[in-house]
């Protein structure tokens, strides 16, 4: 091979790489810009937001918009509500899924297949069809504007149960049989043997539950209109309705408060969270 052809093939290889890098940088900028733009806008003064040509960076970044948002809606209370409901909701959801899957895999009881079918079939039932009857039930229980009203109807775990079951089926039976011979009951087997062998699945299910609970909008929006039990995404609606689009800085500051916590969770626990959110693709 002559030097010329070598050079030529190297150039041919390099130029797609350059194109690749350019496309990748462009894609990253385009996809990342909205989030950056929101964060910057939340730090700008109103006259900077409504100024042409556009100001890229806030001249004097301050938290004025955040203070105003907190004045218009009880932002601290909403944040506390969202954090509390997310932790309790995700925790219960994981526990329910874990226990249900344990029973489905390790316990022999009549109609086990039927029960599993019942759980799996719910994955095909869109929440929309359940909303009106659930709303009337929650209303008749006097649960409107309560934490349990937000929490309880969505607690049942189908996806989590399914993922846990898939994982439990791969666990070595011998370990559990040995534990049984040592006199371990089901409760002990579940917590001392099954749970420690399932941490990746546990983390994935927990993180997916955290994300869905935190972002849940339609249901809490329907059952809550009192700011004292409201969650952050619903509070955003409240702010949008009171302040309208006239005050973008304030609205975007509140949007940062809604999105930042979940973005941080994502950045810190990225690998586990992505594994959970994409689990459906692997399990079919």
């Amino acid at each position: 091979m002559t030097a010329a052809t070598l050079q030529q093939s190297a150039r041919r290889r390099r130029s797609p790489q350059v194109g690749g890098y350019l496309t990748m940088i462009l894609a990253t900028v385009v996809l990342g810009a909205p989030l950056l733009w929101m964060a910057l806008a939340s730090l700008k003064a109103p006259d900077e937001l409504y100024q042409l040509p556009l100001q890229w960076l806030p001249a004097q970044p301050d938290l004025d918009n955040y203070a105003q948002a907190a004045g218009a809606i009880p932002l601290g209370r909403l944040l506390a509500n969202s954090i509390g409901l997310t932790i309790v909701g995700a925790g219960l959801k994981v526990a329910l899924g874990l226990c249900c899957a344990y029973a489905l895999v390790f316990l022999d009881f009549p109609f086990r297949k039927v029960v599993f079918g019942l759980v799996i079939a719910t994955l095909m039932i869109p929440p929309q069809i359940t909303i009106i009857p659930n709303y009337t039930l929650v209303a008749s229980l006097g649960w409107l504007n309560t934490y349990q009203g937000i929490l309880v109807p969505g607690l049942a775990s189908a996806f989590g149960t399914f993922l846990f079951r898939q994982h439990f089926l791969t666990l070595p039976r011998s370990v559990l049989e040995a534990a049984e011979l040592d006199g371990a009951g089901h409760w002990r087997k579940l917590w001392r043997f099954v749970v420690p062998m399932s941490t990746p699945t546990l983390a994935a299910v927990a993180l997916v539950s955290v994300v869905t609970e935190w972002n849940d909008y339609l249901w809490p929006f329907l059952v809550v209109d009192d700011p004292s039990t409201m969650t952050l995404p619903v509070g955003l609606t409240l702010l949008q309705n009171t302040d309208g689009m006239t005050n973008w800085g304030v609205l975007l500051a509140a949007t940062v408060v809604v999105t930042l916590p979940i973005l941080l969770v994502f950045l810190v626990l990225q690998r586990r969270l992505v594994a959970g959110l994409t689990a459906g693709a692997v399990t079919g």
Partner: protein, 329 residues
């Protein structure tokens, strides 16, 4: 056959199969054993009730009960919170199929679904092919692309509403660079629908790309090498080797995206409230409007049933194809 079978024939009638000799020998132990087994079965059942019971009870009360009740409600003329209801049979369904707005809602749903699902699949595959190359910093690109997927639809809607602001938004600025005047995104059709579609694409692109990336990484390198040795161009290899192998992934994504797109609500609620003049009202959004804005819960239940049947059909197609091992079909 018969000659071999005849000698055994006399022994056959009533005789237990060979394996059953063993239990007979242990017959004296049987009562104790079965009592033990019965006890074990009882404790297993007890534990099953304790462990699976709460989840199953919640599913029955908050998923199956409302499913059945919703079907019943769809036969009533009933307003949310009203003490009286009138049985109308299939009247609500007839009304939906003949209502003047239904055609528009169905068209909007179709446009939104095809654009979001198709767009997310094509762009997502492109992004996955890009990030599958050995580029430095692709981890960062992947993180940035996936981040929108974890955000709530309502917050995403709000932040994009600002992006689209026809006077002070970032989009009018970028369009200005290439000499295009910003359309009136909020008010002039079809722009509100385009706007919602763009946002939905942005939110879901990273997810599609990531699933495709996993699929691409499972494509054996030697197949691609073999195609290259045969003189196939990169485009040809993609079309004839990689894409066919990705069929199961494509199919999974198609169904997942279809289901999620047909059920999307939050972003539309934040950005357009289904307007202007109903131009962004999808089937899902119309259920919300009918039940909680107009209060027509019976009619809304009928519309919900229609959506449910559509979703069920999509899922049924999926189950059928999954059993057929799509990539060899």
């Amino acid at each position: 056959m018969t000659t071999i079978a005849t000698p055994r024939a006399p022994e056959d009638p009533g005789a237990p199969p060979a394996g059953s000799a063993a239990p007979e020998r242990t017959a004296p132990q049987r009562p104790r054993r079965s009592r033990l087994a019965a006890g074990r079965r009882r404790t297993a059942l007890l534990w099953a009730l304790l462990l699976a019971g709460p989840n199953i009870a919640l599913l029955l009360v908050f998923v199956y009960r409302p499913l059945v009740e919703s079907l019943y409600l769809s036969t009533l003329q009933w307003n949310l919170g009203s003490p009286t209801a009138r049985f109308v049979g299939l009247g609500n369904y007839v009304e939906w199929f003949t209502a003047p707005t239904t055609g528009r809602v169905v068209t909007t749903t179709l446009v939104f679904t095809v654009a979001t699902v198709g767009g997310a699949m094509v762009l997502g595959l492109g992004l996955a092919l890009l990030l599958n190359r050995r580029l430095r910093g692709r981890g960062v690109a992947r993180t940035v692309a996936f981040a929108p997927y974890v955000l709530g639809g309502f917050a995403v809607g709000i932040l994009w509403l600002f992006m689209f602001d026809p006077r002070y938004g970032l989009i009018q600025e970028v369009l200005g660079w290439v000499g295009i005047a910003s359309p009136e995104w909020y008010t002039n059709r079809p722009w509100p629908l385009v706007m919602v579609i763009v946002v939905y694409l942005w939110k879901n692109l990273g997810y599609v790309a990531l699933i495709y990336l996993a699929g691409l990484q499972a494509v054996p390198q030697d197949l691609k090498d073999a195609a290259a040795i045969d003189g196939a161009s990169a485009a040809r290899t993609l079309r004839s080797v990689v894409l066919p192998l990705l069929t199961p992934t494509t199919f999974f994504l198609l169904v997942t995206m279809l289901l999620s797109s047909l059920q999307s609500f939050d972003t539309i609620k934040a950005m357009t409230q289904g307007g202007p003049l109903g131009s962004t009202t999808t089937l899902m959004y119309s259920i919300y409007v009918e039940s909680f804005v107009n209060g027509r819960a019976g009619y809304a239940s009928a519309v919900a049933t229609v959506l449910f049947l559509v979703l069920l059909a999509v899922t049924a197609v999926q189950l059928r194809f999954v059993q057929q091992k799509v990539h060899y079909a």
